[in-house]
Symmetry: C2
Subunit: 150 residues, 2 copies
C-alpha cells in the first residue's frame, strides 16, 4: 500500500463533495422558496416561465425536457400560467404542437420574482469581504460548469 497520509481516495472525496453540494443546494432553495410564496406563483411555474422568458418560446415537450419533468406535469404547470395570464398558447403549422410564449405580464412578473429570490442571496453576499465576493463568483461559475456536465 502506498502512503496516503493526508490524501483521501479521490472517489471518497468526490462523494464527500457531492454530499456537501447536495445539502447546500437543498438549504439554499428552502430559504429562497420562502420569498417566492409572497407572490402568488409557485416555484415550478416560476422556473418554467423563466425558460420561456430567457430562452424564448418552446413546445410543451421541449419545456418539459428543459425542466426535467414529464409532459403531464408540465401541461398542468402551463395551465396555471395561462390561467394567470403569464403565458400564451400559440398554434403552429403542426397542429399538434403548441408554441408557448411568455406574455408581457409574465415577463414583468418573472423579473420581479427573480429579483426577490436572488435578493436574499445577494444581501448575504454583501456581508462578505471583497475577496470573498470574488471567490463567490468563481464558485458560481464552477457550479454552472458542473451542473452543465451533469
Amino acid at each position: 500500500m502506498h502512503e496516503r497520509k493526508h490524501n483521501i481516495a479521490p472517489q471518497d472525496e468526490a462523494h464527500r463533495i457531492g454530499d456537501l453540494l447536495h445539502s447546500a443546494a437543498i438549504h439554499l432553495l428552502r430559504r429562497v422558496r420562502a420569498q417566492d410564496r409572497t407572490m402568488g406563483i409557485g416555484p415550478a411555474q416560476l422556473s418554467a416561465l423563466s425558460v420561456l422568458v430567457f430562452l424564448g418560446p418552446r413546445s410543451l415537450k421541449e419545456l418539459a425536457e428543459a425542466e426535467q419533468v414529464r409532459p403531464p406535469t408540465m401541461s398542468r404547470i402551463v395551465a396555471g400560467l395561462v390561467r394567470a395570464g403569464l403565458v400564451r398558447r400559440q398554434t403552429t403549422t403542426d397542429k399538434r404542437r403548441l408554441s408557448l410564449e411568455a406574455t408581457d405580464k409574465g415577463t414583468k412578473i418573472l423579473w420581479k420574482g427573480r429579483q426577490r429570490r436572488v435578493e436574499l442571496v445577494a444581501r448575504t453576499l454583501q456581508t462578505f469581504s471583497e475577496d470573498e465576493i470574488q471567490e463567490a463568483a468563481r464558485v458560481a461559475e464552477f457550479l454552472q460548469k458542473l451542473v452543465a456536465r451533469l
Copy 2:
C-alpha cells in the same frame, strides 16, 4: 463619478452571483431528484431523516425548524417515516414533546439513498482533473458557509 472601468458595482455583482447560484441549485436538485424516485421515499422525508441520522434525535418543532417547514408539514412528513418504520416516536418527561429518532432501518435506508443521490454528482466530479476536484472542495465549503449565513 469615480472611474469604474473593470469593476462592476458590488451589489450588481452580488445579484449576478445570487442568480447563478440559484439556478445551479435548482438544476442540480432536479437531476438528483430523478435518482430519488427509484427508492420509495420522497425528498422531504429523506431530508428530515438525514437530520435525525446525522444530528441525532430531535423534537418535532426542532426538526421543523431545521428543515425550514411549519410544524403541521413536518408532522405529516414524520407520520410517513413512522409508517415506513424509519423513525420512532419516543415519549419524554414532558409529555407534550416527542423525541424523534431514526430506527436502524431508517439509518440504513438513508445511507443507501444518500449514496445514490450523491453518486451522480460524484461520477461527474470524477471526470474532472485533480485540480478541479480540489477546486470543487473549496466550492462546496464556501457554499456551506454561505448557506449557513443565509
